[in-house]
Symmetry: C4
Subunit: 280 residues, 4 copies
């Protein structure tokens, strides 16, 4: 398993073309949040905005619009109960991240199916948290022709792969991912998180126990969406997104016993610029 080098960050986070405009940096749709898990939608979409996505839309339950407007005025919102608006949003965005705080209600199941049925080549679908649980429980096949990224932590991967945590070896993970979808990327969140894609595997040697707190995964999902939106889908982009999340977390951990997701989000623009400027 190859260790991901910090060099990936400046290789991916290139200086922007001065003549570009927001349309060049991706249209990201975050389908997230439910009555009891509103914060997850805030963290994921805030992370997407702070990581530089050109335009971010949050599809959520309307009762969360006020909190989203207050925390992230840069983001737009739609009501995910409105099927027509949701479909339009799925068709019009490059990157669709689904799952943080979604819950496993029939509405949530319908949302996961809507994404998998209506996305296609050139789009990227990130399946996280509740979306992974739904796929496992409802045995929903990952049939879209869009790029697929799965971001389970070990417990979610157990539900999805039927592998108990001690059985989650490199070999077993490769095999199960093949069964689930041979074209999908698996990001397995754990101490030294791992990436699996086809016959390749990578791991980061960053991250810390201060990051072991609620909302941390939602934040990674938002960064992943923001990075793919602006840097394009590629293994390098995925590696960079995974790594920067932990690199910032490690920096904060030097001075903070618990690393709050919202603090990582806040630091994204500065760390991204730091790595981008290494290219000069």
């Amino acid at each position: 398993m190859e260790k991901i080098s910090k060099n990936i960050l400046n290789q991916v986070i290139l200086p922007r073309n001065p003549e570009s405009y927001k349309g060049n940096y991706g249209k990201v749709l975050i389908i997230a949040g439910s009555t009891h898990f509103g914060g997850a939608a805030i963290l994921a979409s805030s992370a997407a905005v702070h990581s530089g996505a050109g335009l971010v839309t949050v599809a959520t339950t309307p009762e969360k619009f006020t909190a989203i407007n207050t925390r992230i005025p840069e983001a737009m919102t739609i009501d995910y109960h409105n099927k027509k608006e949701l479909l339009t949003a799925i068709l019009n965005n490059n990157v669709i991240a689904i799952g943080p705080g979604l819950g496993t209600s029939s509405v949530a199941i319908g949302l996961v199916k809507a994404v998998l049925n209506n996305t296609k080549t050139d789009q990227t679908v990130i399946l996280d948290a509740s979306a992974l649980t739904i796929i496992a429980e409802e045995k929903i096949p990952l049939q879209t022709t869009a790029h697929i990224i799965l971001t389970p932590h070990q417990g979610e991967w157990r539900r999805l792969s039927q592998l108990e945590i001690p059985e989650q070896t490199e070999l077993n993970n490769f095999e199960k991912l093949q069964d689930i979808n041979p074209e999908a990327v698996l990001i397995l969140k754990k101490h030294n998180s791992e990436i699996y894609f086809q016959d390749m595997s990578f791991k980061i040697t960053a991250g810390n126990a201060g990051m072991a707190t609620g909302g941390m995964g939602d934040t990674l999902t938002g960064i992943m969406a923001g990075f793919i939106g602006q840097f394009g889908y590629s293994l390098a982009t995925i590696q960079a997104a995974l790594l920067i999340h932990s690199v910032i977390g490690d920096k904060l951990f030097e001075k903070e016993y618990v690393v709050l997701p919202s603090k990582i989000i806040e630091k994204l623009p500065k760390y991204m610029q730091k790595f981008s400027l290494l290219n000069k």
Copy 2:
């Protein structure tokens, strides 16, 4: 095309008369926001408050009052569905900015018409975002005797002028603006944004690709409204408002890969004072 010099900033942002009161710094009405685009109203009105407008009122849908109260307690709110209150507000404010996050519903169309039908000499109307789309789609003539400022980005200008982006040359822009309204000011937002007024044109050589993110235009609209509210309508004021937005953006971009609109807003009072103090 003349380059706008940074000197315009200290020429416009003069030290305030110690015996003045808030009534001297303009009454600004921001007509903005709708169910799905609440953040635009927050950014525009927050920018107006931070740029020094004496009194800022946001006409929006009431579901956004809580987010506005929370983010900008300095601003007042009215419900733009209430025609009587809206009309009173249009008559009582010096500067009216309409469009950010308004959408193109029949309500929004009615709001644009109400502004154009009820404003007059000595008032300034800033038409942005959805308001520009409405004018283009509904072919609404700009008949008010108020000062008019149009702030399209290139896509909005295409809809308004029928000029494809490569055709948006200085000469063509002049001609189309004459057709639309020979007294209006056109601010064309792009890499090195441009100002057109009668037979004059100007451009800034500030701004950066880190500013290519959602909400940036809403923020400019708010600054424009705040500047005209307190410094009065003039080409110099318009130039200064356009320039300071990008000057602050450039400063932030030195350390931040993506320049969030809310960060620019936050920095307004300090940068304005910096330029004001150059007069001492």
Copy 3:
């Protein structure tokens, strides 16, 4: 007219007794806010909390509870439409400030009357903004035996006193205040604000034009309430509250062209400690 010296600040802001508890620092009731003016309630109550009031309750319309909870979790809320709860709150608080953002509806008129009819000796009533307009328009006599403080700006004082602004001379102000209530304190907010009480008058030589912005008066009202809550009703306390508001404003104005009320509020604990420590 005597100039208020900065020494008043350390004379009033004494180090707290280590064995004290929050009950020693006053119970403050802020009756403020309405549908369109929610921010005023936030600013006034936030100022009271930050200036050290032991317990702050905001009586407002329930639609503003979320914004207040979000901005000032330290404050409690009651619904001012509930007459029984309102009366209990009026009876149980030491300091009652009424007016910021209240509007002049029949509900607001009822609130002003409820305060004046149900307060008594040892309580302090601060009448500001809409409450002053209501008193002027409804010709409501100030009959309570509580201490009364009126905090009009020049326009509000004109409505209350029938004195046009050029006629608002020291002599005329004394006379009119006698007519209105010979025991009340008048704080006339203007360039170099003035205090009138019986045959004494004072002025501050602090404050600046950067403070000429919406919400600044609401903030002063909150500071006044917080100061009287913890330091007790006295001319010295009133002078200190008026002065610190402008002293902080002047400090901010050195670096900020417009001084936002929320920034003054944020700085209160530090400036108060600075003056308190001068006693050591």
Copy 4:
């Protein structure tokens, strides 16, 4: 009465195991807040999140969800009126803190009973504020086999123990606590707060009069919950939670006349890391 040494902080706040995950740091349920006291729920749950609890759920009235999502996106929410969801939450969390801003309605009484009737060995129940009042007024016996921590201030302890404040001597406190529940820990909040457990008593010599402000107790409750969630129930953990609250308060008090609860919360990760690093 033994003085609690600062050493307890580094003894309790140990460096985290790098291979741990959020499940290792406790599941904390905060049952708090009501229509008029929404801020208490925010402060308590925000303190739990910032002190490092792995997962924090706030059971409150749904009208407070937006404020909680906005201030603490890291926390989850449930509606405490929903008996089934509440019971599931009580069964599934390690630490349950009940009381801040709860009020004494019949709903609140039901919540206190639900906690006492459904918790058991290995769980910890923290009873604070309104929960203590309810227990005193309703004479509810503390029959759970869970660990019990009572956190009254002197007034609440008077209601609970029938001891007037001057009678709240060490001996009397021991005796009354025996009567109430011989296994419970009593934290008596006052100048130099005290801890009573069986035949042991401890006090801190930290804290200051700047902390005498609304919301300070809610904050301690959240820290207590967060500490027990991650460091486990023990006298040492309880001592450390009580002490760090005042240690941070003392640090802030050096520069701030009034120490706002939200400022203490914000500083928790830094101070905890500072003490944790003393172990290296």
